[in-house]
Symmetry: C2
Subunit: 199 residues, 2 copies
DNA sequence: ACCTGAACACCGTTCAAGT
DNA sequence: ACCTGAACACCGTTCAAGT
């Protein structure tokens, strides 16, 4: 399957020829199933979004904050487990069936729990953007592959010319990334809550 | 210049050979100035970030909200003027000198106007993510190139299976994108403000 | 020493030719 | 009818060979 291969070798190394080889087939054969590599990538993204969909056994959320937090965590976890999909997600707006399903489920739940439809839609978009953006930031953390190159780059930074950047970096190094994610999310949820109360 | 060519032909059509041709040079010559195409793309992104830097003649912001809004608007405008740079910005964390300068200036201003350093750093990241995410969404609007393909895709959507998505789409079609951007930004600013007051 | 054309090792995609 | 090897038209990158 294409999604597995992306997980394994990453977007850059993913090749129609390599996928064909894995399937004991030929590259030309793939074009009988998909129109292009781009279309295939849409499917790969949609596979990831499938993991964000609500499971049937999930207990019902008690508040819209609860619901938003839960979907955000699922989304975040899916991206942690499939970090190689991130570049694809940043490049496309997810238009596959699961992408639409997640959107629909989430907005629906938020509306049901008291958020005005317009605000619910904006909330979903803002949160989704935050998750993807945070994951992009996370992939640049010291555990990532290109770490050494970027680390050496930052090492050259003067504390005098970039005092706040360096200070902030130090401050944030203290807190684990999981907490950071939750804190930033809370920032957004609070903003949504204030918008809700205003009307 | 590389940035101009990206603006003109887009990321996909941008080619070392084409750039060399524009410069009345050869592709091999480019590798005397840059190590790789990726490095060149870092410069292209940094050119855009240069437009986000504070101009010397700017009047001083009155509040951190004011400062944040102003930098967000500049960033947003730069992306509107160079939409082809967006895919690059989504793929890299901007590590060029201007990227660092914008970060430094912004966090510095926010701290000076009363935001705790940690919160200022997170605020910058969250807002930057929002801007890039919003631009990605905007590039999918009906004025964009791939509009017909995506439009036809959404046309197939059942109002029964995706009631909230369709309803939200209708609701949001009414408001101009500029207003939407400002509203979403306000959501985040409110969240930051609540975090500030809490401590 | 500086620049280039041509080459290398790839791509995504297509298509004539086999079974 | 289904599948494939080879080909096409490209890439980014390198390098021997020219000046």
């Amino acid at each position: 399957m294409a999604a597995q291969l992306v997980d394994e070798v990453g977007t850059n190394e993913f090749t129609m020829r390599l996928l064909a080889e894995r399937l004991h087939s030929s590259a030309a054969m793939l074009y009988r199933h998909v129109a292009s590599k781009d279309e295939l990538m849409v499917y790969v993204v949609d596979r990831l979004l499938a993991e964000v969909t609500e499971a049937p056994g999930d207990k019902r959320p008690q508040s819209w904050q609860d619901a938003a937090r839960r979907i955000a965590m699922r989304f975040h976890r899916a991206l942690s487990q499939h970090p190689n999909v991130l570049p694809l997600l940043a490049a496309q707006v997810p238009i596959g069936p699961n992408g639409l399903a997640v959107r629909e489920q989430t907005i629906g739940t938020l509306v049901q729990l008291g958020l005005p439809p317009r605000l619910a839609a904006r909330a979903y978009t803002t949160i989704a953007q935050y998750i993807v953006g945070f994951a992009a930031l996370e992939s640049n953390s010291p555990t990532a592959a290109h770490a050494s190159a970027i680390a050496s780059y930052y090492r050259e930074l003067d504390t005098d010319t970039y005092p706040h950047t360096v200070a902030a970096a130090d401050a944030l190094t203290g807190t684990p990334l999981e907490d950071e994610f939750a804190e930033g999310l809370q920032l957004i949820l609070d903003g949504i809550d204030r918008a809700r109360r205003k009307r």
